[in-house]
C-alpha cells in the first residue's frame, strides 16, 4: 500500500487483506473511539453515492475525526473545468486523508500520484471499489469462521458487476470454489474466466437458478439484473424473474449458508427472505462501518496494535 492509500483490491496480498480484516474486528468490538481525534477526513464525491458516503462519514465521526467534503460535484469547481489534480492539491492542504468517489476509471490512482496525503478509493467508475470488497470478505469470514475453501455462488449480473469482479480477485488467495449463475447476456466476461484459470480457481457456470444450484453453497452473493444492461429486451423479459431468490428455494441449503448482497436491492431477493436466518445482507452493510474505520486508521498510519481494544 503505497503511502497507505487504498486504491485497488487487486494488489493486496492475502496477508494484507487479513491484516485489514483483523483491524476491522477490533472496531466491531468497540466502534466508538476517539482514535482520530483532531484529524480531518475529506469526502469528495464527484459522483453521488449516499450509502457509501454515509458509511465513511459515520466511520470518521465514530472515531472522533471531523469531516469536510462535497456530495454533489455540481457545487464544486470541477464543473468550472477544474482538474482533479487541482482539486486534490487544494483539499490536501486541509485534510489528513481524502476519501473519493469518481465517475472516471483510474481517477483514484491518479489522485494518489499527485496527493501528498493518503487517498481512499470509494469507487472509481466501473473500475474498483475496494472497501466494498473488504466488507464482503469481512462478512464471509465473520459468518463462516474462515475465508479458505468455501463454496461461493454468485448470482445475477456477472458481466458488469464491479463488486463481483473484485470479490473474485480478492478470494484468489483463499482457494474458493465458485459457481457463477447468470443469464447468457450477463455471464462472467472471458477475461475473468481466464483470470480464474490462471489463478487455479475452480468454477462452474450455469444459467439455471433454483434450489439445487444453491444446495452446496456456503455463501450466496446476489446482485441485481438490470434492464438497461440488456441489448435484447426480449431476453430481459425472459430472464427477469428467473434470478430472484425466493424463500422456498432455501429448504435444501446448508445450515451455515448466508445470503449476501452489496445493496441496494430492488427485487432480486424476495422480501420474505429477510426473515430467514440465512439472510445476512443488512449485517453485511453494517460491517462496512467497521472496515471503513479500519481503512481510515490504516491510511493514517495506525497499526493493528494501535487499534487493539485489549492491549
Amino acid at each position: 500500500m503505497e503511502n497507505n492509500s487504498l486504491v485497488s483490491i487487486a494488489n493486496l496480498s492475502g496477508e494484507q487483506l487479513k491484516y485489514l480484516l483483523a483491524m476491522g474486528r477490533e472496531f466491531e468490538k468497540c466502534p466508538n473511539r476517539k482514535i482520530l481525534d483532531g484529524k480531518l477526513v475529506a469526502t469528495l464525491f464527484f459522483e453521488p453515492s449516499t450509502r457509501t458516503r454515509l458509511s465513511f462519514e459515520t466511520a470518521a465521526n465514530r472515531l472522533g475525526a471531523r469531516v469536510i467534503g462535497f456530495t454533489d460535484p455540481k457545487v464544486t469547481s470541477s464543473t468550472k473545468g477544474e482538474t482533479l489534480k487541482d482539486t486534490i492539491m487544494m483539499v490536501s492542504n486541509y485534510a489528513d486523508v481524502i476519501v473519493m468517489r469518481h465517475y472516471l476509471e483510474g481517477a483514484a490512482l491518479w489522485a494518489t500520484e499527485v496527493s501528498p496525503v493518503p487517498i481512499v478509493n470509494a469507487g472509481d467508475g466501473s473500475n474498483q471499489h475496494p472497501t466494498q470488497t473488504l466488507l464482503d470478505l469481512y462478512t464471509i469470514q465473520q459468518t463462516q469462521g474462515r475465508l479458505e475453501d468455501l463454496n461461493i455462488c454468485i448470482v445475477g449480473d456477472l458481466k458488469y458487476g464491479r463488486t463481483v469482479h473484485s470479490l473474485i480477485m480478492a478470494m484468489r488467495h483463499f482457494n474458493p470454489k465458485f459457481q457463477f449463475v447468470a443469464p447468457r447476456e450477463l455471464s462472467l466476461p472471458e477475461e475473468y474466466k481466464r483470470y480464474c484459470q490462471e489463478q487455479h480457481i475452480s468454477f462452474e457456470e450455469t444459467e439455471r437458478f433454483d434450489s439445487s444450484s444453491i444446495a452446496d453453497a456456503d455463501i450466496i452473493y446476489m446482485t441485481r439484473v438490470q434492464r438497461e444492461r440488456f441489448t435484447d429486451l426480449m431476453e430481459y423479459e425472459r430472464v427477469k424473474d428467473v434470478y430472484i431468490l425466493q424463500r422456498d428455494m432455501l429448504g435444501q441449503t446448508k445450515d451455515n449458508m448466508k445470503i449476501l448482497h452489496p445493496l441496494p436491492r430492488v427485487n432480486e431477493i424476495a422480501q420474505d427472505v429477510d426473515d430467514d436466518p440465512h439472510a445476512y445482507y443488512f449485517q453485511q452493510a453494517k460491517n462496512g462501518l467497521y472496515m471503513r474505520e479500519a481503512v481510515l486508521c490504516n491510511a493514517l498510519g495506525y497499526t493493528l496494535d494501535d487499534v487493539r481494544v485489549e492491549k
Partner: protein
Amino acid sequence: MSKQLQVAAIQNGTVIDHIPNEKLVEVVRLLHLERLPNSSIMIGYNLNSEQLGHKSLIKVSNHYFSKEELDTLCIAIPNATLSIIEDYQIKEKRAFDMPSDFDNIVVCPNPMCITNNEPMPTKFHYCADKKVLKCHYCGKEVETDEVRFTK
C-alpha cells in the same frame, strides 16, 4: 542476385529496415521526419525483401532518434531493425526491444479513463505473455496493432 544497394548508403546516421510497406507512412509521421532540416532522408518503398517479400526502409543521415521515438516504433513496427551507421559502417544493429513501460506514448481507448479527461501523461505496461498493453490507470488492455499514439 545483385548486391547493389536499392537505396544509397549514408555516411553517418540511422537506418530503419524491414518496415512493412503499409506501415511506412505511419513511421514517417511518428518520427516527424519533416522536422529534421539538417538530415538527408532517403525512403525506400516496396523494395525486394527475402524476409517480407516486399519492405520499406528509411535512412536518415546525421540523426539519432530518442528513446521515446524508438519506443513508439516498438509498437508500430515490432519486427523492424535499427542500425546505427558511422563512417559508412554499421556500428550497431538490433531489433526493437519492447520496453516494459510506455510513458505518454499511447492513448487509452477507454473514453471513461481518467487519462482521456484530465491533462496528464498516459502510462501503459507491456504484458509480454498476452502481447497487450495495459493502461496503468484504468486497466484497459489494448492489442499492439490497435494502438493510437499520443503524437
